[in-house]
Subunit: 504 residues, 2 copies
Amino acid sequence: MFESAELGHKIDKETYKSEEPALREALLEAQMDTLRLAKYPVVILIGGVDGAGRGETVNLLNEWMDPRHVQVHGMGEPTDEELQRPPMWRFWRVLPPKGKTGVFLGSWYTEPILQKVFSEIDDAAMVESLDRITRFEKMLTDEGALVLKFWFHLSKEKQKKRLSDLEKDPKTRWRVTERDWEHFKMYEKFRAVSEMTIRHTSSAEAPWIIVEGADPRYRSLTVGKILLEALKKRLEQGEAKPAAIHAPPLLPSIDNLHILKTLDLTQKLDKKTYEAELEKYQGKLNLLSRDPDFKKISVIVMFEGNDAAGKGGGIRRVTSALEARVYNIIPIAAPTDEERAQPYLWRFWRHLPRRGQLTIFDRSWYGRVLVERIEGYCSEADWMRAYGEINDFEEQMAEHGVVVVKFWLSISNEEQLRRFKEREDTPFKRFKITEEDWRNREKWGDYERAVCDMVERTSTDIAPWTLVEANDKLFARIKILKTLCNRVEAALDKVKGKEKGKKK
Amino acid sequence: MFESAELGHKIDKETYKSEEPALREALLEAQMDTLRLAKYPVVILIGGVDGAGRGETVNLLNEWMDPRHVQVHGMGEPTDEELQRPPMWRFWRVLPPKGKTGVFLGSWYTEPILQKVFSEIDDAAMVESLDRITRFEKMLTDEGALVLKFWFHLSKEKQKKRLSDLEKDPKTRWRVTERDWEHFKMYEKFRAVSEMTIRHTSSAEAPWIIVEGADPRYRSLTVGKILLEALKKRLEQGEAKPAAIHAPPLLPSIDNLHILKTLDLTQKLDKKTYEAELEKYQGKLNLLSRDPDFKKISVIVMFEGNDAAGKGGGIRRVTSALEARVYNIIPIAAPTDEERAQPYLWRFWRHLPRRGQLTIFDRSWYGRVLVERIEGYCSEADWMRAYGEINDFEEQMAEHGVVVVKFWLSISNEEQLRRFKEREDTPFKRFKITEEDWRNREKWGDYERAVCDMVERTSTDIAPWTLVEANDKLFARIKILKTLCNRVEAALDKVKGKEKGKKK
């Protein structure tokens, strides 16, 4: 894999001098066109061997391009705010918006590669990490991002020479750290792990480009030319067209039986039972939130449901059990322009709670496969890939100890009609009902199918859907509280290392 | 000051029961109207004595109002990301956007009060802190925010009883911490410092409202009614009208002599000297940025100047001296909608660098007193108050060890004309010149006056303006690099505790 990058590629001074100015001008122009178009971000990863010129290349890119629209991320040690969220959070928060360029010197590859080299993880875990990276990058490119991954290589001999040379010159001595030599001793190990990494993560959309790093002129010109070509090609394509879908259709409902039909919507609670249960589960939730171990987990509670199914009331019964400083509610409205300039899930990632916090999403990332699917706000390709992206997202949360609780509040068509009319007749509630609600009602069947597809594809062991029979508000609220208590309790038990058998 | 809050105010159960529902409904309605109007944020501060019901009140507000549009901030220990910025950064980052409500349990008062009680600061320092707070709150209300500050008070006797009662009940025991009792022992001290605080920071726009905290019904009803009245009154006013300006006019230029005229724009560097100096100062800047103590400071370099004065070129000569991961460039464009929903300075606060970083602003917060003043994008009241707000902003940076370097690049009217024409004639540069540039040129005199006012009012010892004679680009670039080197060097010297006499 690295053979071609050990041939001793070289560019002489004259060639470089004759080619550089035009390349530079063309790069700047392509960058400005990308900025003006503002339809996709450019993500550049710079990986490779120590001393192979990664830092120099980044500095050079900043000289060639307009540095005002390039963000360079060294990605050193994570901050404590970052450590409190899933590992990818720190990359999501600095993704470049559409039109801009983000250069990552340290990237999502750094951790797994170091872990593997220092034998902290085995092959299987490494493959799992790389697989996750591949899916993340697939998401980026599907969202339109231009992703360029450069790998700077040096043969062992060349690396040694380069480090020694740098060290000899008092001006560059600072560049060589003890860590560099330590890593050098493990050259073979690094090489093997790097090869594995490159092999597993070179996709059609985001292939690794291996560049011999020994000769600065060769290295620079190569990177510049590849970048220019990529920018131009992407500009020619303009706004990414939705990819054609070759996937088989979702399971058709030929017998008209589906999961929502299995719900017994007649379930009820009388007022007295309700009040007793409410006190019981609100008290329990309150206690759980004050458990010292609660500071070790975080909780996401997500509410989706039919219009007028009682999401607001359900949320209130949860929040009134909690100290105000423990929770935060994110009502999902139209995205802001900063959010529109990012991949779809960005506006949810940014709200992930730190440990000890509970965040309630009033509507959520499932909008993609519900309203956006039905109203055609996104292409079929977009919502079809959303299922997998959402599962990845939730898996990352779960692995980080975030309890993900998802509620679908289900009411019958007739009950919705009754509530709509009631809202219209109550002056105080009139603002809650709009023309749009009536229009949505006409698409009842579409929503039903979308919900069934959603549950089928995203109800997982780590983040299961709880379908809540909500024709009776009292019944629904108790089911919500009970479910939430159980999930939080189970998570705390897990933290405490108790037997899992205990949980209900 | 606390006398009226020690009278033993009480509301009986019946009165409360009869008044609460209407209050609650009216509050919700007022909140929704505020949200729909979306013209100003509501900032609620909850301060006061331990055990006086601060937490309960916040929980209650969240029950009464729609919690989806209320953000509660406990403001515990600052995170490491917060510690790397000036102390107010953590409050700026969570200010509620227009239409929403932010409730602060811990606030900008917490630190100074605790410091004073524990004698870490003297009276003078306390007054200084409080003065800064007053100015901050003035800025908030000038920006349209509705600011409500509640102080919950208990007499010493009542506080003791309340803590004991809470402790006796197993259900509420968790609420009383050792710290509460520790603080109780210092009741008198707290009382004195609180009084001083309230006295110094009760302004017409943001007065403290002292509420007796002993009786929950009295406390709740009082807060609810005050909040409701404030919301309604503010709604009646609608969008805040710019306050009339009673200030005397700025110094008129009756002899036509001003600071820009004192610049000798004929200053030049020949190419050879330039190249030698460039290497010298870029090298120096590079070394400075690699000084181990550089990690203890941060640097802000701000570029303002006439159109076509060479800001871009100046920035490049700075960045090409630095490792890409050390700096970040913020080009100031039109604000995003998230930025528009916040006080003017918010969009600059959010970009303050962490330690060890250098951030370059390509145009800056001075837009308020330059283009916005001249084009009438904001009212006279807005830009007149901006000078003071900006000085406060920069003072906070300076006190936190941020080196604030401000450049005004000045060219002559004739030189600008020459450069505009050159840009029009060069295909590659044509995109850099627009109709707007020509229009701005017609306002040369207005800009000149605005620049003079700006320099006069915002060039301070801690953040001085450097006027750069920029008719000769080479001269300008060297002056920029040299100034920057000197400022950074001085800051590093200060960190190292060296004699200040050494610096040039």
